[in-house]
Amino acid sequence: MKTLGQITVLFCGGLLLFFTSDFPDFGDANSPASLHLSPYFIENTLKDTAVPNVVTAILADYRGYDTMFETTVILTAGLACFLLLRIPKREVKSRYYLHEPTGVTLRFEGDKYPQKSDVFKRIDSNWVPYDLIINFTCRLLIHFIQIFALYVVAHGHYSPGGGFQGGVVLGASVILFAISGNLRAAIKRFGEKTAALFSAAGVFIYAGTGALCMMIGEHFLNYNFLSPLLGTDRIMARSHGIFIVEIGVAVTVMAVMIWIYYNLSSAGKQDEGL
């Protein structure tokens, strides 16, 4: 197997390397790729959509359909991880609770355990106390990460970034919270059902916008329909349409990243996890 693999790799690699000489030079402004389609995009984006960031414009408008499915890919991954890993809740014989003021761990048998309480915290047998420094710094940073993420989403038109990047950062903020404290705390704030709902809702915003266009009589995902709704001209309508779908992307990406993390880090048990 090893030799076979090496031979395959060397053969393919050699072949591919050899034929790189036919490629246009790196950075060649006259290659077919730079001459055929992209000039149209670069020269007309601002006219068509009022979005200076050409990438965003292509992503969410010219090839918005691709992006819808890109978002769906993410959703699919979330669902897949859930389907593969999630273990339904099972009856547990005993539960551990930490009395937070004193740090004493109590073990409760059966269904005698403290109901919702601020001083008692449910923990697992492999619970470790969180680190003070990490916990504090992360709590401090999470706001900024989140506001930064929202900024990225909102300014996708003018600077790099957009729904996907913002969504990942948002998701990362929750992941950070889960890492710095523990997974239970994170799940308490952003539950699994919420994650599932959000991840579906994001794609729904995207595809629903498209479907709305279709119902009003335009083509699917043709944002022109927004112009009577928002009272703007068609170009600005496209700009706003792009913004709406970016929000959808961000919501999905955030929720799915968190959802995948929940499942991966606890191997589907959604207990304390990593």
């Binding site: 003070l132 420094i133 929202l150 900024y151 300014h155």
Partner: protein, 166 residues
């Protein structure tokens, strides 16, 4: 938590975040500002209990001022200890120059913010790293040589304590 305290923290969080938003955004038209307000409301609503500095506004301002004074000093300390590190790193006989050790120190502070500030300051200055910190102020610090070890807790401890004294 009391409602009033909550509102105050919310407001503080919101204003800080909005400041950040404005700096990030650099766009001052209505659309983006309203987006900013919306986002900041959202974030502060979701996470307002993370940044519980204090409900006392005057203390908050004092703390802020103290920090503004403390940070240049800290940077100066960093410069100093970096300069202290340079000969060690470039010395041909590096194994004799250093004498790593873990020392234990105790801080009298009970305020977690203060402790974390102190610990991070120690870590920031090259030559010393906080290894362990607990809520009772017990710290273990790894120092690269005797000089770094001896400088602890030293001035830094006093300054941070002063900063967080009520």
């Amino acid at each position: 938590m009391k409602t009033k305290q909550r509102i105050i923290t919310f407001c503080i969080t919101f204003s800080i975040l909005f400041l950040f938003w404005v700096i990030f955004s650099g766009k001052f038209d209505l659309f983006h500002l309203s987006l900013g307000i919306f986002s900041c409301l959202l974030v502060s609503w979701v996470t307002s209990d993370f940044l519980i500095v204090t409900s006392d506004i005057s203390r908050f301002i004092r703390l802020f001022m103290g920090f503004t004074l403390y940070i240049p000093w800290l940077i100066w300390q960093i410069v100093l200890s970096t300069i202290h590190m340079i000969p060690i790193i470039f010395s041909p006989d590096i194994h004799n120059k250093i004498n790593p050790k873990i020392i234990k120190i105790k801080s009298k502070m009970r305020d977690n913010v203060g402790l974390v500030t102190f610990a991070n300051s120690i870590t920031l200055t090259p030559g010393t790293i906080t290894v362990v910190l607990n809520t009772y102020g017990d710290m273990a610090v790894h120092a690269i040589d005797d000089e770094c070890a001896n400088s602890l807790p030293g001035d830094m401890g006093k300054k941070v304590e002063a900063l967080f004294r009520d």
